[in-house]
Symmetry: C2
Subunit: 181 residues, 2 copies
């Protein structure tokens, strides 16, 4: 699938940050004209839908500076270079919730915003959670509160837009489609 | 909901582009420490799930430079400042597919990547499409191919990762959950 391909004629690196790496490419369009493409390079991310033995979903609440408010989200974190997404999934689950698992099932993956970013999101689910006695410490600058909610409760949080991001809205719809009670 | 709030002590504007506006904020954390937050400011976007009279879903295929490949996606576009999302929805539907509608239903909205971007995505659905005789011209630098697929065909595109972005994967799951055949 190389039709519509846009060939890069120049790349200008704008910023190399902790999360965001921004570049602007000059491209040659299929009709021979040129355009600029702003591209956020991102290492990718992994999320887990954690289901407890009493059939609740674990969410983490954290402040999201770009939105200037906190959201409840399924636990997630960035991929380290070359890391297997399942390894990321288990690390982030432990750091953010204090649970671990050795049974993960793949749900889906998707690009979050393909118009300007190459971030891919992998989503897993586990209903085989174990409490970790001394869980891994999370990132120093992350402040997190845990919520365990039934699917019905979670749907109310979606309506109230306290759950309001792509991976978590997808997860709720996925559990609904599975027939979870 | 102002707990965990991160107060901005300084904002540095890195880049103001056509799509991406990048800033880096210095913030004061709840424990009194400081951190940097990289924030992509985005005007928000609107997508439509277009269903034809013969029960097919209309997708647009376009090259996504950040991924260096083309994807099939539901039609979508950026909000203009102050614009009602339904107006954006109808304009983008017409520009990208040549259909219009005066019956849109709201499906959901979500932030695509709340860790580093404030982009919100609004999703609508319409099964009342009308062909436009002389549709609005799309953006000069957009090259688009239209695909009309049944839900079963679309699910195969998801498996093959030719459909592979948040709004479109959500749309497929939504139609599946609705019981569309």
């Amino acid at each position: 699938m190389r039709n519509f391909e846009e060939k890069t004629t120049n790349t200008q690196v704008i910023y190399n940050g902790k999360v965001v790496h921004l570049q602007v490419d000059d491209v040659l369009l299929p009709d021979g004209k040129t355009a600029k493409r702003e591209i956020v390079n991102h290492p990718g991310a992994v999320a887990v839908i954690p289901i407890t033995a009493d059939n609740k979903i674990i969410f983490v609440e954290q402040y999201r500076k770009p939105l200037e408010k906190s959201l409840l989200e399924i636990p997630a974190g960035k991929l380290e270079p070359g890391e297997d997404p399942e390894v990321t999934a288990i690390r982030e689950l432990e750091e953010e919730t204090g649970y671990t698992t050795n049974e993960l099932s793949f749900v889906t993956s998707f690009y979050t915003s393909p118009g300007f970013a190459n971030e891919i999101m992998y989503i897993y689910i586990s209903d085989q959670l174990e409490v970790v006695d001394q869980p891994l410490a999370g990132d120093e600058d992350e402040f997190i509160k845990i919520h365990a909610l039934t699917l019905e409760e979670a749907k109310k949080y979606v309506e109230a837009e306290r759950i309001h991001d792509a991976k978590t809205n997808y997860a709720i719809l996925y559990l609904h489609a599975l027939g979870m009670k």
